[in-house]
Amino acid sequence: MRQSAVYEQPRARVMTRVKRVLLFALLWWLLTEGRAEAWGMGAVLVVAAALLSVSLAPPVAWSLPGALRFVPYFIWRSLVGGVDVARRALSPARPLQPAVIEYPLRLALPRSRLFMAGVISLLPGTLCTEIVDDKLWVHLLDRRGDFQRDLGILEQKVAGLFRDENRPEEG
C-alpha cells in the first residue's frame, strides 16, 4: 500500500520501478540457472512481478555503506557463534552458564527491531526471547562476557543498515 502522505516525485517513481525490474531479473537469472531460453517467458514475468511488488512491498530505506559494514561483521560473528556453540555441544563437560538479561533498545523502526531480534540468535551466545516495549529479553548461553557492549555494537550496525535514527520513537 502506498502512503498517500508522502508525495513521490515522478523521477523517483520511475527509478523505484527500474530498480525492482533489475532485482527481479537477477532473481529470474538465478532461478533458471542462467538458461537463455527461459528469458522469453521470463521477460513478461519479471516485469509483471516487479511492478506488482512495488505496491505489495513499498521500497524500504537502507544504506549501501551500512550494508557493506554489516555483512562482514555478521558473517564473522555468526561463524564465531557457531564455533562457540559447537565447542560446548561437543565438549564432554558441556560448559553452560545460562542467564536472561534485558537490553534497552534504541532502535526506532519496527523492521530494524525485528531484524535485530532475529540476528541476535545467530551471534555468539545470545538469543532473543521477547521484545517488550523498548527492551529486548536476551537469553545467554554463558553469562560471562560483556553482552551489553556486544549488543550495542550490533545495534549500531543495524541502525546504519536501515538508516534508523537509533533512538526511541516519540508520540
Partner: protein, 97 residues
Amino acid sequence: MLIDGLSLLLLIAGMIFFLAGTLGVLRFPDVYTRLHALTKADNVGLGLIVAALALQAPAWAVVGKLILVWLLVLVASTLSCHLVARTAQRRGVTPWQ
C-alpha cells in the same frame, strides 16, 4: 585438485557443525539452550556446505542460487528460533540455571 581439496575440507567442516547442532539438541538441558545449538551450528554448517558446492558450481547463476537458498534458510531459522523461544517463555518454560 586444489579446488576439490578445498571443497572437501569445507564439506567435512560443515558436517561437524551439523553433528554439533544435533548433539546440542540432544545434550543441552532446556529448550532455550537447544535453540542456541541448533540455530547457530546448523546455519554455519549449511553455510560451509553451500560454500563447498559453490566452488564446484558450473555457472555463476548456480552460485547465486545456492546463496539464495542459504539466505532463505537463515531467515526461516532465525524467525523460528525467536518464535519458539518467545512462545516457550510465554508458556512459562523457565530457563535452566
